[in-house]
């Protein structure tokens, strides 16, 4: 148990008053940026990165990773109470979290979200602890065909397992894929769909689209009804927490499945967004009562949150072990490592043991402290709701604009956000699902690049997607999921 000894050493490095104080500061800042729609994890961490330059690397990474935990926790608050996902991967949390809040079960939903974040992260941290030293070789098995297979799996699970009218899902997904392609095509170096505009050159940023689709459109929808806040108040009492925790064992399959999906997609790296959607869809698929999803079922909160956070945490593993950031936030942390003079890669584990194990230990401590902190401070953050909507609405609009602008420092993105706000409003009202659109917008480019690199590598031979057992099994699974409704029907008839 070499890892265990090293971990204890990590805790020893960590347990000083200064480090603990940094953790608290980081967590509070993190929850704050997580709650603000559109600011979120990657941006929050990026914005706060310069604060750490004068610190020693261990303190710096502890503070940054705590900001990250805080943002992860904070993202759930706005998703559940306001139906505004603070983070892209909280989108799936809104599906059942918001209905729960509407039914007056906001505290349960929040407790479920925080608890499952905690469980997801914990599983991933355990995985990192024991896998870190040996992960390098596995992650290296992923070439373009394997990456493409994973993306395909994500898309197929969406179409195959989705419940909306198929043509509307198709419209939504193809539109997302098309918009993802705007800008420069990496493989050929050619511009496409930019129509000579230098604003379209950089492409359509996914976060900007999300802020518009979910933030602005929700404000418009809310206005249609009474000018009352559609958010929900929640103060979490110990009783609620305990009652949710008591029920936890009932959902162990969901929790375990989502943790597994999350860790897998975090390492591979398919990302937390894909993980949260897959976690949600699979929970729905395997549920005895899939119809109750989307109407405020607690499992619909457990599944995506566990998966997203397992994935977000697991994404740090390839970042540390290989220098491949598995997520946007991991990419920012990677930049941080280099500023502090550390080179990520397999050797990091040999040369900077203090740093690596200090970080891993801080993941454990940060999670525990974060869970307690977030459970006790929700009333403070929820108190935003006591402000009249006529004051909150313009403030949300301003926060959205700040978020949209800060991503690329572009005024054009504020207009884009407004445009997506209108699109989101209309789509929601005529029943075109937005989730496939956002998923396609995020993964579209990467999937296309992976496909085309596979083709260049194989000389145009599609058999490359079955060229070894790893890629073959993922591709086959993807196709099975795509045709799942048909397969299910046939299977029922035979049995």
């Amino acid at each position: 148990m070499e890892a265990f000894g090293l971990l204890l050493h990590g805790f020893a490095v960590l347990l000083t008053w200064k480090t603990l104080a940094l953790m608290m500061v980081g967590l509070v800042l993190g929850i704050f940026v997580g709650v603000l729609p559109g600011l979120g994890g990657p941006n929050g961490v990026a914005i706060l990165l310069p604060l750490t330059f004068t610190m020693d690397p261990t303190s710096a990474i502890v503070m940054l990773s705590c900001i990250y935990w805080g943002a992860l926790f904070g993202g759930a608050i706005t998703s559940i109470l306001f139906n505004i996902p603070g983070e892209a991967w909280s989108v799936a949390t809104t599906f059942d979290g918001y209905p729960m809040a509407q039914q007056g079960k906001a505290a349960e939903a929040l407790t479920a979200a925080f608890t499952s974040s905690f469980i997801g992260s914990l599983v991933a941290v355990l995985l990192i602890t024991f896998l870190a030293p040996m992960i390098s070789s596995f992650a290296l098995k992923f070439g373009p065909p394997e990456f493409f297979a994973v993306y395909l799996l994500t898309f197929c699970s969406f179409v195959g397992l989705g419940r909306e009218a198929k043509h509307k899902t198709v419209i939504s997904m193809s539109l997302g894929l098309l918009l993802a392609g705007v800008g420069m095509d990496t493989v050929s170096g050619q511009l496409r769909m930019t129509f000579g505009s230098s604003e379209l050159l950089r492409g359509i940023n996914f976060l900007v689209a999300v802020i518009g689709l979910f933030g602005i459109s929700e404000i418009l929808l809310t206005m249609e009804e009474r000018l009352a806040l559609r958010g929900h108040a929640a103060s979490i009492s110990l009783r609620v927490v305990l009652s949710v925790w008591k029920d936890l064992p009932k959902y162990w399959v969901t929790l375990l499945r989502s943790s597994f999906i999350g860790c897998w997609l975090g390492i591979t790296p398919g990302g937390a967004i894909a993980a949260s959607f897959m976690g949600y869809n699979l929970a729905k698929r395997f549920s005895k009562d899939p119809e109750s999803f989307g109407k405020g079922r607690i499992e619909g909160v457990f599944a995506p949150e566990t998966a997203a956070h397992a994935s977000g945490t697991a994404a740090l593993l390839p970042m540390l072990a290989l220098g491949i950031p598995g997520s946007g936030t991991a990419a920012i942390l990677l930049g941080g490592l280099m500023v502090w003079g550390l080179n990520p890669g397999p050797l990091l584990f040999v040369e900077h043991k203090d740093f690596v194990w200090g970080l891993i230990a801080s993941m454990y401590l940060g999670n525990v402290v974060g869970l307690v902190l977030v459970l006790t401070t929700v009333p403070i953050f929820a108190s935003i709701l006591r402000v009249p909507f006529a004051a909150v609405a313009p403030m949300i609009v301003v926060s959205c604009a700040i978020g949209a602008y800060a991503i690329q420092n572009a005024m054009f993105d504020i207009w884009l956000m407004l445009g997506f706000g209108v699109v989101g409003y209309v789509f929601k009202k005529i029943g075109i699902p937005l989730a496939p659109f956002t998923l396609a917008l995020v993964l579209g480019n990467r999937a296309e690049d992976a496909f085309r690199l596979s083709m260049i590598g194989s000389g145009g031979d599609l058999k490359v997607f079955w060229s070894n057992s790893l890629v073959g099994s993922i591709t086959t699974l993807a196709i099975v999921l795509l045709f799942w409704p048909a397969i299910e029907k046939v299977a029922r008839r035979i049995l």
């Binding site: 420069m184 990419a331 280099m338 420092n409």
Partner: protein, 317 residues
């Protein structure tokens, strides 16, 4: 207080707002790392009163950053950390950009290119070329971006050796490095910094460096080798040379005082321990050019790149 006291006294203009270092690449890439090194060097040594922020504009393979600088005419609070894309992108993608519209500040480093293969692959350039020629499917060459420096080098390697390569354009040098380690490609032409870690871990092997002379750094990087131990490609019989500039630019139409401030600032940066340490760690060639020298260098470099791009057939019609 310490900050106020030690802040250097400049006679002329000084930024009144936070200064943005514009990076024409994604997070974690060589430009980003360099920008963050400079940010740290400036902040730690109090070289400037205003804070400095790194802003990543890697969209459209860096074209985003170029258009951003172009539109920032007259704004002295944006500095671009440029590399060969300033010559190549306008040619390959017909981006309406010309580096002459920006204000040159200084060239701060030159970056090398090295031919790498997997440590399980051929051990010398000759064996590598022979294996590439003998292979039934063309060898896969990883690189960053399409119709850019890595791609150009691949085309020239093909011309000089007669071997065929399939060029795989990845999004970053880091990705190209791990894909080589994972045996998904047979080789890449990464900058030293991009392959440093995997080299130290013994997973890749440097075959030759695309320069007239060997890299100067002689301290050991791996157990047995230093940067200086890598032969030049010419020594190994493949006469291909390419160096890439790392230079700072301001937007167009800034005042001479503003330009002078930044020339001075980056000159000071090149004197810091952070810069020197970074140069050695990443095996960059130190250089400091400014004023007329810099413009002359840029013109020559532009001509070289243009002829390479034309020969490789990468200029869009």
């Amino acid at each position: 207080m310490a900050l106020l006291l030690s802040a250097p006294a400049f006679a002329g203009w000084e930024p009144a707002k936070p200064v943005e270092i514009v990076v024409a690449a994604g997070a974690g890439g060589a430009s980003d790392q360099m920008a963050r090194m400079m940010q740290a060097a400036i902040q730690k040594n109090n070289l400037m009163k205003q804070p400095i922020v790194v802003s990543l504009k890697g969209g459209a393979s860096g074209a985003e950053a170029l258009m951003y600088m172009k539109s920032g005419e007259g704004d002295p609070n944006k500095v671009l950390i440029a590399y060969s894309l300033i010559y190549m992108l306008p040619l390959s993608a017909k981006i309406p950009f010309n580096w002459r519209e920006l204000t040159p500040v200084s060239v701060i480093a030159l970056d090398q290119f090295v031919l790498w293969d997997n440590s399980a692959g051929p051990k010398t350039v000759k064996e590598f070329v022979a294996a590439a020629k003998a292979a039934s499917a063309p060898f896969k060459m990883g690189g960053t971006g399409s119709k850019r420096e890595d791609h150009v080098l691949t085309v020239f390697l093909e011309q000089k050796t007669g071997a065929k390569f399939s060029y795989l354009p990845y999004k970053s040098g880091g990705e190209a490095a791990t894909q080589l380690v994972g045996n998904h490609t047979e080789s890449n032409v990464n900058n030293p910094s991009e392959n440093l870690e995997v080299w130290r871990a013994g997973q890749v092997r440097p075959l030759c460096v695309f320069d007239k002379e060997r890299i100067a750094y002689t301290s050991k990087v791996t157990d047995t080798q230093s940067w200086a131990d890598i032969p030049t490609c010419k020594e190994e019989g493949v006469d291909v040379q390419y160096l890439m500039l790392r230079a700072m630019f301001l937007p167009g139409k800034v005042t001479p005082e503003q330009q002078a401030f930044y020339v001075e600032l980056f000159h000071k940066v090149t004197q810091t321990a952070e810069y020197k340490d970074y140069m050695e760690k990443q095996a960059l060639k130190p250089i400091f050019l400014t004023g007329k020298d810099m413009v002359q260098f840029l013109e020559e470099d532009d001509a070289t790149n243009k002829s390479l791009m034309t020969e490789a057939g990468f200029v869009a019609k």
